[in-house]
Amino acid sequence: MRGVKKQNLPSKICTVCGRPFVWRKKWEKVWQEVRYCSERCRRTRPPVQ
């Protein structure tokens, strides 16, 4: 038995847009650190003062 059903994948809330997003294969090793749903959100995050 391999894999997890798509509807059972873990999800997070994007810290920039506030929308939920779902686990992807390319994040399997860094899922703990993933904060943004997309490249766009990563780029539009507010500057740290």
Binding site: T15, G18, R45, P46, P47, Q49
Partner: protein, 532 residues
């Protein structure tokens, strides 16, 4: 004929353990224990309803303990000299016993009135030290030895008492009906000696393990700080008892460690940090003891006139109101203000940030913000409070100017936005990346998360970078003057800590000293760590 009555006046020492005036009085005869509810003090701006509730809880606990020891607590209302006068007629008490108090000007003036009354009536007033603060200290050199010496003396055991009965105002029945208004702080700590010892023991046995790391954040600090401060302020527990318990716990941990039992290493550093803070507690109070005027005026008078005019202006008033309401547009500041209003407590770092923000960002003179914030600290201790407020406002002259960035504090001390969201419901739907600076949210996001800046939550009341730059320049201009440096040296001689910390030495080796200030400069780290 019965023995003459000894009168023990309870002030900020609402306990029976390690209470020397009580035990000394008890050795000499029947003891009448008194607490005075003073409208001029208890009804003043210094105290809020939460203080009175805490006081009442502490008195209930004290009354029970005194009764168990065979004594009685009498509660009277009025000016202390009037109360003493009446009691003298009723009981012919021969001596007055109390602790020395390093309090606000109100209590200082009241104590001088009492001293005059005692002289006129030929009633000796025996006052005892209750912590590391030394009365009529001749020099700050070697001050820490006084502290050590006092703490080394064994705690005074609770005495058995011969009470004086039949007086009007016996506290038992009265306490239920002190006329105390409901607390304005739903999340405040509960008063009393029993609560004090529970709080201390849970800290030393469990909560304190990560103290050193946990104290900086208002999230982890809520349980990771000792929370013993209101009990020290009301004297529900003595500083010496706290120090003794700490010493016992440290030796227990050392023994366990030496015996090869598993010990969490973090305890060692944490308890050392806690021990330092017990010293700093008295170090700061000593400043007010030595120079009571610092409750009202700058340590270094060269800073007089710096902020007064602006503070009184329309814009100054507007900023002060916004700060008090928690509506500055800086979420970390606003959350802290609302937290302290609801609970009477904040960790030290956040208190320092609030003071620094009012002084530098808002350019307000420290006096009004200090009085207001003090009235909301359940653990309000005038000596610590006013020295600290001056230090965080740059008017102490002997500390580096330290300006906190509320956004940076939010990112570092509340990375998940837990604290900000708890106290600012209007920001609950704001994604965490924007919580430190919600005004930067794109308009679309503002409307999507129901937080329109300027409508649901204010835009920042001042712009951070510009405000900080201007404040820094204005302080520096005064600091550079030779008159300021001369004064600062005098402040250091009178009040400065003689201890050079490791970080201080490091700092000194790296950076050239400001000319003329010499030893007077504390490193930012050392200054920041004061008084956790």
């Amino acid at each position: 004929m019965s023995d003459p009555v000894q009168l023990v006046w309870f002030k900020r020492d609402l306990r029976v353990d390690d209470h020397r005036p009580l035990s000394e009085a008890a050795r000499r005869g029947p003891v009448l224990c008194l607490y005075v509810y003073e409208p001029e003090l208890h009804g003043s701006e210094e105290l809020t309803a939460a203080h009175l509730v805490f006081l009442q809880e502490s008195l209930v606990c004290l009354e029970r303990s005194l009764r168990e020891l065979g004594g009685t607590l009498v509660l009277r209302r009025g000016r202390v000299v009037d109360v003493l006068h009446a009691l003298k007629r009723e009981t012919s008490f021969v001596s007055l016993w109390s602790h020395e108090e390093t309090g606000s000007d109100r209590t200082y003036r009241r104590d001088r009135e009492v001293a005059v009354w005692c002289r006129e009536q030929s009633v000796p007033w025996h006052e005892f030290r209750q912590d590391g603060v030394v009365r009529r200290l001749s020099s700050r050199n070697g001050w820490s030895r006084h502290w050590e010496e006092f703490m080394r003396q064994p705690a005074v055991p609770r005495p058995s008492l011969r009470g004086v009965r039949g007086l009007q105002g016996e506290a038992g029945p009265l306490l239920a009906d002190l006329g105390v208004p409901p607390s304005d702080k739903p999340d405040a700590q509960k008063g009393g000696a029993a609560a004090a010892s529970r709080t201390l023991s849970s800290f030393l046995s469990d909560r304190g393990v990560n103290y050193r790391a946990a104290m900086s954040s208002p999230v982890s600090g809520w349980t990771g700080c000792s929370r013993i401060s209101p009990y020290l302020a009301f004297g529900c527990i003595s500083l010496r008892t706290v120090n003794d318990e700490l010493a016992a716990r440290r030796s227990e941990l050392r023994t366990a460690d030496a015996d090869g039992e598993p010990v969490d290493r973090r305890w060692f550093g944490s308890l050392q940090s806690f021990g330092s803070r017990l010293r700093w507690h008295c170090h700061f109070m000593q400043k007010l003891e030595d120079e009571p005027r610092i409750e009202f005026g700058n340590f270094v008078r060269a800073y007089d006139g710096l902020r007064e005019e602006f503070t009184a202006s329309v814009e100054g008033r507007r900023r002060f109101e916004a700060w008090k309401e928690g509506l500055t547009g800086y979420p970390m500041v606003d959350a802290c203000i609302r937290c302290v209003k609801a609970s009477g407590w904040l960790n030290f770092r956040m208190r320092a940030m609030l003071a620094s923000f009012s002084a530098y960002h808002l350019w307000l003179h420290w006096r009004e913000p200090a009085v207001w914030l003090g009235s909301h600290f359940l653990d309000f201790e005038p000596g610590i409070h006013f020295s600290q407020f001056q230090m965080q406002s740059g008017t102490s002259g002997i500390n580096t100017v330290r300006i906190y960035s509320p956004a940076k504090q939010a990112l570092e001390q509340d990375p998940d936005g837990e604290f900000i969201r708890r106290w600012l419901p209007e920001l609950r739907a704001v994604p965490v990346s924007w919580l430190s600076r919600p005004e930067q949210m794109p308009a679309e996001l503002q409307s999507r998360c129901g937080c329109l800046i300027g409508r649901n939550y204010p835009a920042p009341i001042v712009e951070h970078a510009a405000a900080v730059k201007e404040a820094r320049d204005r302080i520096a201009a005064i600091r550079r003057r030779s008159g300021t440096r001369t004064e600062a040296k005098a402040v250091f001689a009178r009040h400065g800590s003689r201890k050079k910390s490791a970080t201080h030495r490091e700092h000194k080796n790296r950076q050239p000293q400001l000319p003329g200030l010499g030893e007077a400069i504390e490193t930012a780290t050392a200054a920041e760590r004061r008084c956790g």
